[in-house]
């Protein structure tokens, strides 16, 4: 059976369901999706983790959240005290979230796609994604924090996107 097919990219509800499954597997607490994501919200004080997907389709999957939210993810995932969590662990936890969400997206996109290792930037406000356009965004509240998951598509010739 061949799997050569045009990329079947996730819709917002499908991306939300993927995130929901990752949360239900590894973390405690409910994710409450925001019906109308605010795409212009500032990223000050936020971290971003992403994985790139390259193959029949090229783009990346990013996760953006506040430092407090990232710490909460790390303490929950590793079952640590908030006081014990290091920056490295925070980056690891957020990177793993991006890896798992991105991995599920990659599974939809096609057999020949390759997932990069996750990257984490501690200051999301400074991040620019040149030649990429935002396709799908899911924002959700978790433990009083706002999380954002976005799927970006590579678009050569596009101006820098945020």
């Amino acid at each position: 059976m061949t799997e050569a097919m045009t990329a079947a990219l996730p819709s917002a509800p499908e991306l939300a369901e993927i995130v929901d499954q990752v949360w239900a597997s590894f973390l405690e607490g409910e994710l409450i999706a925001v019906p109308e994501p605010d795409l212009a919200r500032p990223y000050d004080g936020c971290l971003v983790a992403w994985v790139s997907i390259a193959g029949d389709w090229t783009g990346h999957l990013s996760v953006v959240c506040s430092d407090a939210a990232a710490r909460a993810i790390a303490t929950d995932m590793f079952q640590l005290d908030d006081s014990e969590v290091t920056t490295a662990e925070v980056a690891d936890a957020l990177g793993e979230i991006a890896n798992m969400v991105g991995g599920s997206v990659k599974g939809m996109v096609g057999a020949t796609a390759v997932l990069s290792l996750p990257q984490v930037v501690l200051d999301a406000a400074a991040l620019v994604s040149p030649e990429a356009r935002r396709l799908v965004t899911v924002q959700a509240h978790w433990k009083d924090e706002l999380l954002e998951f976005s799927l970006w598509e590579r678009q050569p010739g596009n101006g820098g996107g945020k």
């Binding site: 499954q21 590793f78 890896n99 798992m100 991995g103 057999a111 290792l117």
Partner: protein, 127 residues
């Protein structure tokens, strides 16, 4: 005789998660950061572990390469190989099984799912 497991993943987050789950099931757990590190540990070990939980995408030596190396080495014939990865395409799963993985678990997974996979492999604590 406690069952010995080794978790092989370049993500320290995933190693921590799997260590916690597998320890709760009553196993003893060792870790390696990639295939090369895992092979070095196997070579140096007095006793070959019972099961390896292996990520696919790792630097130095990826999970598939590790499985191929282990399956072609008679010293490690008793090592059960469970792949634990985000790779979810059918063709990838077929490749892994063909290379010699005994079972396959797709991320994300719940602790129950890990327990059930280990049961399929005939591995329960204290056996």
């Amino acid at each position: 005789m406690t069952v010995q497991a080794i978790v092989i993943d370049d993500s320290s987050a995933m190693r921590m998660i799997l260590r916690r789950i597998v320890t709760k099931l009553g196993f003893e757990v060792d870790e390696a950061v990639d295939g090369r590190d895992a092979l070095d540990k196997l070579n140096a070990a007095e006793q070959v572990p019972d099961v390896a939980l292996i990520d696919w995408n790792m630097p130095e030596m990826n999970g598939l390469e590790f499985i191929q190396a282990v399956r072609s080495d008679p010293r490690y014939s008793r090592l059960t190989l469970l792949m634990v990865t985000t790779e979810s395409e059918q063709s990838q799963i077929v490749r892994a099984l063909a290379a010699g993985a005994h079972e396959y678990l797709i991320k994300p997974f719940t602790p129950d799912a890990v327990a059930e996979k280990l049961e399929i492999l005939g591995l329960t604590a204290g056996v």
